[in-house]
Symmetry: D2
Subunit: 243 residues, 4 copies
């Protein structure tokens, strides 16, 4: 059983002037939890910016196998301590999946060490998402490409460290390309970034997007986990010669 925790800042959806309030009336986290809850091997919890400390404590993360993160307009309201906790627990072996505008979230930037910048535009571009590494577990069951009729445009240069695998690349009607699905190992944990998911489009109801997220969770589930990877052990010298 993989224990999933979905964090969502849950701001746009509460704004009646934002399309998100119609598309995701109960929040993006609830929509994501909705399709994940149909999976027999997953148990899903959610938390938001409204929860104390974002609902994230060391104890909570120790009970989490894979953390999903959605944030956008309120990155700055996530305490630095929460980013630090996530960074530490990923290094201990917890998996993490960062969605869409979470590229500028504190925990993602903390794990990458780069600026995570990109170019962007809201112009209802069609996006076509190509599977660039079909043999990657996260691409399992995905077609050569699939389309989203409208998405926020994200474009290169994307300020990330060279990904270990680029599983998906995005093509936008307006002329942009993007490394849309990228993996990294950080310490003992695995990190996946997935670009689609702007709050004003029903992206998380898309069957292919849901499949990618399910695959990513299974891929990121820990295979090795420690209590505290920050320690540097000081083992004794073992002599093998001059005996």
């Amino acid at each position: 059983m993989i224990r999933v925790l979905v964090f969502n800042e849950f701001q746009h959806e509460k704004d009646p002037n934002c399309r998100a309030s119609t598309i995701y009336p109960e929040g993006i986290h609830t929509a994501i939890a909705g399709f994940l809850n149909k999976e027999a091997d997953l148990t899903v919890k959610t938390c938001t910016l409204d929860d104390k400390n974002c609902g994230i404590t060391e104890a909570v993360l120790k009970e989490t196998d894979v953390l999903l993160w959605w944030g956008h307009m309120a990155h700055h309201r996530v305490p630095d301590e929460v980013a630090e906790l996530v960074y530490r627990e990923v290094n201990n072996g917890m998996g993490a999946v960062f969605l869409h505008s979470a590229h500028k979230s504190k925990p993602f930037m903390r794990l990458m060490g780069t600026d995570c910048s990109l170019i962007w535009r809201e112009s209802d571009d069609l996006e076509r998402i190509w599977t660039t590494t079909p043999s990657h577990p996260i691409a399992s069951g995905l077609p050569p490409y699939f389309e989203l009729p409208g998405e926020e445009t994200y474009g290169e240069a994307f300020g990330i460290p060279t990904p270990e695998d680029i599983v998906f690349m995005g093509w936008f009607e307006g002329g942009e390309v993007f490394r849309s699905g990228c993996t990294w190992r950080r310490g003992h944990g695995r990190v996946f970034y997935f670009q689609p998911g702007h709050e004003t489009y029903p992206t998380y109801y898309d069957e292919n997007v849901q499949r990618v997220i399910r695959n990513a969770i299974r891929w990121a589930a820990p295979v090795y986990r420690v209590q505290n990877s920050m320690d540097c052990p000081n083992p004794p010298r073992v002599h093998h010669w001059g005996k």
Copy 2:
């Protein structure tokens, strides 16, 4: 002084029914040598499939710093021995730049170890080429993106080993994306692949394309070169203990 050798199969250009015969009447190699010869730090030679053994011998490669390769319809007519010589000399430290349809050339495939497959289409698509790693020496002086009004479309999944750097990514009007500028180290040598350059378009007269090729040559020029990297030395044991 960087010694450049440009190999071109030189077939399409001799076919009066092919647009290439009008665009590159003296061959793609001559067009490339033309703009390279304006550079004070480069000396340029060319060779083609018409030359004995493609004009490539071990001695010729030992006198070459960077080899450029263009091939398409006649890959199979390049002797296996030529591919082997290129593979060996790159490992010894020679640089190599593979252009457009050279993705399926024998020497490139020999160096990659993969199928180097892609999807393709000839439909006069506009291509927009994005600079994804602006700090890479091959991107020096290039804008965030530049366009070619028509190119052969190449699309993912591109069957290459994970590149060390993706310097450029291509966007095609018809809906495809492509890792258009990629680098690898092979032994002591450096390899660059660059996607634009179909024979029926005047791509090699484009100022930005020329700049990429010049940059790539300077980047691929050897910094360390050996006579024969195939040998496995058998050094004696040096004791440091039990003294």
Copy 3:
């Protein structure tokens, strides 16, 4: 059920003057098949240089999930066609595990594109093998390090493409270091190289070595496999705008 094929050149073991004849009287392949056959999820076949075409045909590889390869003194007697078949089927999705002196085997070199050279010495050095990526599936269940009382020494610089993961690194009593366990993706297939296993030492009876090989087989088992990755599809253009 993972279908494993173990290729061994089987030369040293038939030489009564070689220690291998005493340690592996029925061949290294038989020793490896011996411990693999205890696994419920593996079915194991073997083949050697004595078999016609090394026992390797396209049909045989299509029925193989993971190929293991041991070779040393008779690399040159493996037909080029066999190396070509292995290269193609790995790109189609078959897994491959190359053992010890197989670093200079034709199929491994064909997949790497480099010289695969190293320095070496036979001086009965103790080797200590460090787990450098404990969260990698191939490291599952392995300790921080384990030792082999005697091994052939292999040392850097090892002429391989930058590995995707370095799972193990070797330390040798005589002063050498080596990237002893390395992974690469080639096309749709996964490749693992593992350095220990000289014919004059009982390395393949070592419990940790056996665990590494079992882990590597499970890791390299195909998740995506195609009939022929060499083809370049030519899909039609799909218009999305007013042309």
Copy 4:
């Protein structure tokens, strides 16, 4: 002219009970500046923990091409703001070279996103440093290996992101191996980590160590630099078709 800034915490050297006070009476930074000042293409400044804000401001970094960093016992006394400034300016294009125990310094950890842990021991082990990528500019002029008669032992598993290049690997008499010279790109900047340099050994007087540091500075010097890479541009849509 490459503008170098050497930061050293400068604590051990002021402790009369520490060997460092005899070996580096004026501080490690002064020793490093000493051999760098002999280079015609370098201008060198130094700063320490005694300086206000470690001597590091945004303005100072904007005038720095490559920052060297040595720290150990007082990592915690470096303000978080200083680490943030270094992280930002590396992403803007500044080069950074982290020496020895700086693996646990705030700016290095900020750039890596991992725990940067390792195993260690002080037992006067001889270290032998192997050149694993002889064609890398940082290895220019270095022999296949060189030795330091005594160093602090650092061992794997080293908790870093997969390096882009492993230029050097260390072998320690007591049985450890280490990825001793590693490179990464972070944003537009280049980062190098180099393991030797414990304060109780005269490592920075070693000719080969000095050569590595000089090479690293020249390699890390910016080729592309921006004012503020944190911004995400929002360019307009450029239509190419009938919309």
